[in-house]
């Protein structure tokens, strides 16, 4: 799914620019960065309500290029600069994590399969 479609589906605000046009294959919704490290495997967009530098670092580690901050959370300018330097696009939506995830799923963006067993 192209970023332009994500923006349209979520009525999303764009906080920065990156050089290339990005697209994603999966969505992953989470506030826990260790879970992102463990389970976000395949060119995801991350939906999160956590807004701090570790979110950007985490995405750098697992090559996530698009982050959507939910519930009108706004990143600081410092965080925006950090993301731009890392080539990560930041979007924001007024939707809750549940609603934003649902809307993207209904628009055709699948979720990651979790490989863990109970």
């Amino acid at each position: 799914m192209k970023v332009s479609e994500i923006q349209k589906v979520l009525s999303a605000k764009q906080f920065n620019d990156v050089e290339e046009e990005l697209s994603v294959d999966y969505g992953y919704s989470c506030d826990l960065m260790s879970d992102v490290l463990a389970f976000a495997q395949n060119n995801d967009v991350l939906l999160t309500g956590t807004v701090n530098p570790q979110v950007i670092r985490t995405c750098q580690m697992v090559d996530i290029r698009v982050i959507v901050f939910v519930r009108c959370k706004e990143p600081t300018q410092e965080l925006i600069d950090q993301a731009t330097k890392a080539g990560i696009l930041l979007l924001g939506t007024h939707y809750s994590m549940y609603m934003a995830s649902s809307l993207l799923y209904m628009a055709g963006l699948p979720g990651e399969e979790i490989e863990n067993d109970f």
Binding site: L32, M33, S34, D35, A38, N52, Q54, D63
Partner: protein
């Protein structure tokens, strides 16, 4: 080749700098993307642990032809119960660490999951040294 990093816990916002820098080094060295990803995840979890639990420390990365070894040494409080620490979902992280998005009890399990070998030496009141090894041979 050896690469050394200092982990400063006094600036939690900087946690992950060593892992980010070493990831760039690995890219320049032409290590495969899959291996880089595993190393980055495991090293970053270790670096975060050093910041949120152990007042920082040092990371030494040794790159050889067939293996990459990462040694993370801190002079923190030590791990009282290693079996519990290895259990997914168990955490002693502070509220501040949780605000950063950590403390889900996945740090040690993630390091084990993404490395080929993991060794932990820990002593209460002395510190913890964690060694991660990654095979490069196909």
């Amino acid at each position: 080749m050896t690469f050394n990093y200092e982990v400063d816990a006094s600036v939690p916002e900087m946690a992950g700098r060593a892992s980010t820098e070493f990831k760039s080094v690995l890219k320049q060295l032409g290590v495969s993307a899959k291996v880089i990803r595993r190393i980055s995840i495991a090293m970053y979890e270790g670096e975060i642990n050093m910041v949120i639990h152990a007042n920082g420390g040092t990371i030494t990365c040794q790159v050889d032809e067939n293996q990459i070894e990462i040694v993370m040494a801190d002079v923190g409080p030590g791990i009282p119960d290693l079996d519990l620490a290895m259990k997914a979902g168990w955490s002693t992280a502070s509220p501040q660490a949780r605000e950063l998005g950590f403390g889900a009890g996945m740090g040690m399990p993630n390091m084990k999951k993404f490395s080929d070998e993991m060794e932990v030496e820990t002593q209460i009141g002395v510190g913890t040294t964690l060694t991660l090894r990654f095979n490069l041979a196909a």
